[in-house]
């Protein structure tokens, strides 16, 4: 409970004694490049393969001749939009971005760089953490959209290449009973996950004490706590929005 209280105070501290708007814009762009652009390759590879595997496994399980082949792409579409794209992408980003944020802030803490900011009269949590959270909130939905597109496209490619489904059937299945609400839900999930991962990792890194060993522990703790928070939030959002 104490940690949750400190976390809330930490989040609140970002909004007091703010720096100039220009400073935040510049820092947010820098962080967006680190969080978003630099994660693009990883997200692209993972989502494409997940789409491919989902298509192959769904096809393998559809043994009844009474089930049309287009069901394969419908299943791939709904699994991707509702769960795989937002949640798996966020779990992957919790590992990459979360550990990066916690490691960076932890190192800044133990090398007195955060103290240096405080001595200069700069609100260190606002200056360092706010742009990270803002950048994550901007970039996560974009990454999730790209992940969703690539996952479905990966499924299409493997499906048509291996002959388990024709291109026409795949596209028909994609369009069949399509609910735009699911896309909205995926975006909501990505926004919530972005906030959780960036803020929890920042909190863990910001309050690191000790040396290199503790920075490593903070990174590990940031990833595990972020993953747990993402899965809990995933369940709550599903309960609330579906």
């Amino acid at each position: 409970m104490k940690s949750i209280g400190l976390y809330i105070i930490f989040i609140g501290s970002m909004f007091s004694q703010r720096e100039s708007f220009k400073t935040y814009v510049k820092r947010t762009i820098d962080e967006a490049i680190l969080i978003g652009i630099n994660s693009l390759t990883l997200v692209a590879i993972i989502s494409t393969f997940i789409g491919m595997v989902t298509t192959v496994q769904t096809a393998a399980n559809l043994v009844s001749p009474f089930v049309p082949e287009s069901v394969i792409s419908t299943v791939v579409r709904d699994m991707t939009i509702l769960e795989l794209a937002p949640t798996i992408t966020s779990i992957v980003l919790a590992g990459k971005v979360g550990s990066n944020i916690a490691g960076e802030l932890g190192t800044m803490r133990i090398t007195e760089q955060i103290d240096a900011l405080e001595v200069m009269g700069i609100n260190s949590s606002s200056y360092l953490v706010f742009p990270k959270i803002a950048a994550a909130i901007i970039m996560f939905p974009l990454l999730v959209i790209i992940a969703g597109f690539l996952s479905i496209y990966g499924g299409y490619l493997v499906g048509t290449f291996t002959g388990v489904i024709t291109g026409e059937d795949f596209v028909y299945g994609l369009r069949l009973d399509f609910r735009t609400y699911n896309v909205f839900m995926a975006i909501v999930k990505s926004l919530v996950f972005a906030f959780l991962i960036s803020s929890i990792s920042s909190y863990k890194g910001f309050f690191t004490r000790g040396g290199a060993l503790e920075v490593g522990q903070a990174s590990t703790s940031a990833v595990t706590n972020s993953c747990i928070a993402v899965l809990l939030a995933d369940y709550l959002i599903a309960e609330l929005l579906l």
Partner: protein, 249 residues
């Protein structure tokens, strides 16, 4: 001038600072000395506001810093420059951006004026043609100089140095000491240096405060420290056999 009154600080029941008072004068190098673990760095952190003391008050030119509101604290902090023990340069920024950082975030100065000021400060600390180098590409002594340049770039009134000689060879240590002294006089700053280096004490200690187990045991200057009768200070000063030997001669 900075005045501290009755500063005490404990961590988990262990007293680190016990009722320390003193005055640090403007235009002078005020040294806080003592063995490792006597509370020197904690006292410095209390003075700059990184650690809140349990009791006591700190005044910056008569302004109560301890009980000041956020705006007043920020105002005072923007008059502070600090050289950290590990220098605390920002790893992601080159030397120029590190030194310019306080100007970027705390002022609305035009860019060319900022660069002029950065170059002036870098030249003042004896560094040229290093603007585009990253902190990882320069030596320890150069990092300290960059740290000093960053500390003074914003026309500060108060300069704090936490163990400025740590990790430096004797020659570079003397150069850094001399630089701190010169800047103190030239910019008329109130300078507080935490150190356990006797060379610094003898070289630049206009005013010296000796801490022992969290208490202030002695106050004086580099001219009378060698004649002290305080046994704990004598043990500290003459711990180095060379100092003892030279003093006898």
């Amino acid at each position: 001038m900075i005045e501290i009154k009755n500063i005490s600080k404990s961590f988990e029941g262990r007293t680190v600072l016990d009722g320390i008072s003193g005055i640090f004068e403007q235009g002078k190098a005020n040294l806080i000395i003592g063995s490792s673990g006597t509370g020197k760095s904690v006292l410095l952190k209390c003075i700059v506001g990184l650690v809140r003391p349990d009791t006591g008050t700190i005044y910056y030119d008569g302004r109560d810093f301890t009980n000041a509101d956020k705006d007043m604290k920020t105002e005072i902090r923007r008059e502070i420059g600090m050289l950290f023990q590990g220098v605390a340069l920002f790893d992601s920024m080159n030397v120029e951006r590190n030194v310019k950082f306080p100007l970027d975030t705390l002022t609305v100065m035009p860019e060319d004026e900022k660069l002029d000021r950065v170059n002036f400060c870098l030249q003042r600390v004896g560094l040229e043609n290093v603007n585009k180098r990253m902190p990882s590409e320069i030596s320890g002594g150069m990092k300290k100089r960059v740290g000093i340049a960053r500390a003074i770039v914003n026309d500060v009134k108060y300069l704090f140095c936490d163990e400025p000689n740590s990790g430096l060879d004797p020659q570079t240590s003397i150069l850094i000491d001399e630089l701190i002294k010169e800047i103190t006089v030239e910019f008329n700053t109130t300078t507080i240096v935490v150190t356990h280096d006797m060379n610094s004490v003898i070289g630049i200690g206009d005013k010296v405060m000796f801490l022992y187990k969290g208490k202030k045991l002695w106050e004086g200057s580099n001219t009378n420290i060698l004649d002290t009768e305080v046994q704990e200070l004598r043990d500290f000063v003459f711990a180095n056999k060379l100092v003892k030997h030279v003093t006898k001669d």
